[in-house]
């Protein structure tokens, strides 16, 4: 720019009535993630914006792809349990439970009553812990910091209980094919019961923090709306689908564990927006809490793992005294369990939705093919639909509301 081009001081520049009328506008492409605290893991979103309005939202996944399905084809059935921990690492109990349920049905193993009750109980504790994390981070993303601290207080208690139960807080590997790893102690059960007595009051506390908060309501009501027909067609499940008013819950529709023997309800929403999904999870806190209580009250005595020596590792003490046990142990470790040839798709309800395990067995100790249907995978694919037409800030609220875990999505 030369001196001659510059407007001289004191002169006025003539303007049109609308100063932007002659300007050309174009969409802005914004890259959100993969390293962003609000994407809940390594998720990358390519968002095309017209002003603040989202024209198109394209999710990119795969940053956490570890080839779990390929690995599973090269491990025997017992070795796969720790792999399933690392799928949905926020609630690994439910993953282990899903996988073990699938293998048990494939083999036709009868699981003892006590083991079923314990597994249902820890799965529901895991659901509470997972929803707590979801609520904490979802609220944090929207700007409510306090909820985060409250939720982590209770989550910490649950993780401590898991640690006392099996020695691990996150990657538990507690359920086993045919039962659970070890029996529960009475003292531990008492502490879990004490937790269930205090927890409903805590849920009320969370509600007083955000349920009447005007900012919270404005950020969540009418945001990320999807109709029930569309939600079914997009394959959504879990609280995300129930928020639309569809009462689909695998625990009710095709019961496993002891869910059909307990008294509980499936909470649903009606509007299919972020707020209803949040409400569904708040009600699930109370239902899950009630299930845990009922399981403790009705917990039968008896063995905690099935008496099926061909599929279940023998007790460690038996190895030193019993030749049979040693042979079974050797056969199980070297060849894997003799799973019959066949194929089965078993769905269970994890905190995020329908978690399916499709196993094709050729009769060897390793699965010929194991496909994992992860709810997060389907939900992220529907982000395109949920975010379209909304505003950029809504994208963050929507990601929080569908409760995704990338370990499960990318496998």
């Amino acid at each position: 720019m030369t001196m001659a081009d510059e407007p001289k001081a004191g002169t006025t520049v003539e303007r049109d009535a609308d100063p932007t009328a002659h300007l050309e506008t174009k969409d802005l492409t914004l890259n959100l993630g993969p390293q962003h605290p609000a994407t809940h893991g390594v998720l990358r979103l390519e968002v095309d914006l017209d002003g603040f309005t989202v024209v198109r939202c394209t999710p990119h996944v795969g940053y956490l792809h570890r080839g779990v399905e390929k690995l599973a084809e090269n491990r025997n059935y017992l070795q796969i349990i720790p792999l399933t921990d690392r799928l949905d690492y926020v609630s690994s109990m439910t993953n282990n439970d899903s996988y073990c349920t699938a293998v048990e049905r494939l083999c036709g193993i009868e699981v003892p009553e006590r083991a079923l009750y314990i597994r249902t109980m820890v799965a529901e504790m895991s659901r509470i812990a997972s929803h707590l994390l979801m609520l904490a981070t979802h609220a944090l993303d929207i700007g409510a910091m306090t909820v985060f601290l409250y939720c982590f207080r209770e989550r910490e208690k649950l993780l401590d209980l898991f640690e006392r139960l099996c020695g691990a807080r996150l990657t538990v590997s507690y359920p086993r094919i045919g039962g659970v790893q070890r029996d529960t102690e009475d003292e531990w059960l008492e502490d879990v019961y004490a937790f269930t007595e205090e927890f409903p009051g805590r849920v009320d506390e969370y509600e007083t923090l955000i349920d009447q908060n005007r900012i919270w309501l404005q950020r969540t009501k009418g945001v990320g709306v999807i109709s029930s027909e569309e939600a079914i067609n997009w394959g959504l499940s879990g609280p995300t689908l129930r928020g639309c008013g569809v009462p689909y819950d695998v625990r009710k529709f095709a019961p496993y564990g002891v869910y059909d023997r307990l008294d509980w309800e499936v909470p649903t929403g009606s509007n299919g927006d972020v707020y209803d999904r949040y409400r569904v999870r708040m009600e699930e806190f109370r239902q899950s809490n009630s299930i845990v209580r009922q399981c403790i009250e009705a917990l039968p005595s008896g063995p905690f793992i099935a008496d099926a020596p061909k599929f279940v590792l023998p007790a460690k003490e038996a190895l030193f005294e019993n030749m049979e046990s040693l042979i079974h142990q050797f056969a199980l470790i070297t060849d894997g369990p003799p799973v019959p040839a066949g194929e089965l798709y078993v769905a269970t309800e994890t905190p995020r939705g329908e978690f399916g395990v499709y196993i094709v067995s050729d009769g060897s100790g390793k699965p010929y093919r194991m496909k994992i249907r992860a709810p997060s995978f389907v939900h992220i694919s529907a982000l395109t639909k949920l975010c379209k037409g909304g505003r950029l800030a809504d994208v963050i609220a929507i990601i929080g509301s569908i409760d995704i875990v990338m370990g499960e999505c990318d496998r």
């Binding site: 996944v61 795969g62 792809h65 080839g67 399905e69 390929k70 690995l71 090269n74 049905r105 494939l106 036709g108 569309e230 079914i232 067609n233 997009w234 394959g235 569809v246 689909y248 529709f253 095709a254 066949g342 194929e343 089965l344 798709y345 769905a347 329908e354 399916g356 499709y358 094709v360 010929y368 093919r369 496909k371 249907r373 995978f377 389907v378 992220i380 694919s381 529907a382 639909k385 990318d410 496998r411």
Partner: protein, 176 residues
């Protein structure tokens, strides 16, 4: 309906399409020709007695010894009737194409992209068939049985030289 009744209804509607029917532990799998998979799925979706409105899962299985090497598997569920069925469509290796079911279930979008990514099966009519989990320039299809679990020792990432080029001047900046 019981799964076997659904299979019978399907066989009644498409007598020439059904290849095989198998029942295992209460679940029924029906194998059909891949050419009319879209019609079969439309029938299962539209028929009021069956009404498979929820696509639980879509995946592929590799059988290297079979004449029709790949099998695309559809796990369908009906939320209204609470019944389940599995449809399987074998696809030969030399013509790895099958019709996309995205027009029926939007959920199939990413499932099909994943199968394309990991098995190399092409879905005709898919709106956006790209690799999903792996990088766009990946070679090979990892979930095929002939894809090794571990690569050969002398293998290196194809763009390795290019990546190393970025580090060409690293030594110039080293504090001596």
């Amino acid at each position: 309906m019981e799964p076997m009744e659904i299979a019978a209804a399907l066989a009644g509607e498409f007598p020439d399409e059904v290849i095989d029917e198998r029942s295992f532990r209460g679940q029924v799998a029906v194998a059909v020709h891949r050419d009319n998979i879209l019609d079969v799925c439309h029938f299962l979706y539209d028929d009021p007695r069956i009404e498979m409105n929820f696509l639980s899962d879509l995946c592929a299985v590799d059988f290297p010894d079979r004449a029709l090497r790949f099998e695309v598997v559809y796990n369908l569920y009906s939320l209204g009737h609470r019944h389940r069925i599995r449809i399987k469509a074998p696809v030969p290796e030399d013509d790895l194409v099958i019709d996309s079911v995205v027009p029926i279930w939007r959920a199939a979008d990413w499932f099909e992209r994943e199968v394309y990514d990991l098995f190399g099966v092409t879905f005709r009519g898919h709106p956006d068939l790209r690799r999903l989990l792996l990088p766009d320039n990946w070679r090979g299809y990892p979930l095929r049985k002939d894809y090794p679990l571990r690569g050969p020792e002398d293998w290196e990432y194809p763009e390795y030289e290019e990546a190393m080029e970025l580090h060409r001047h690293d030594d110039d900046w080293t504090v001596k």
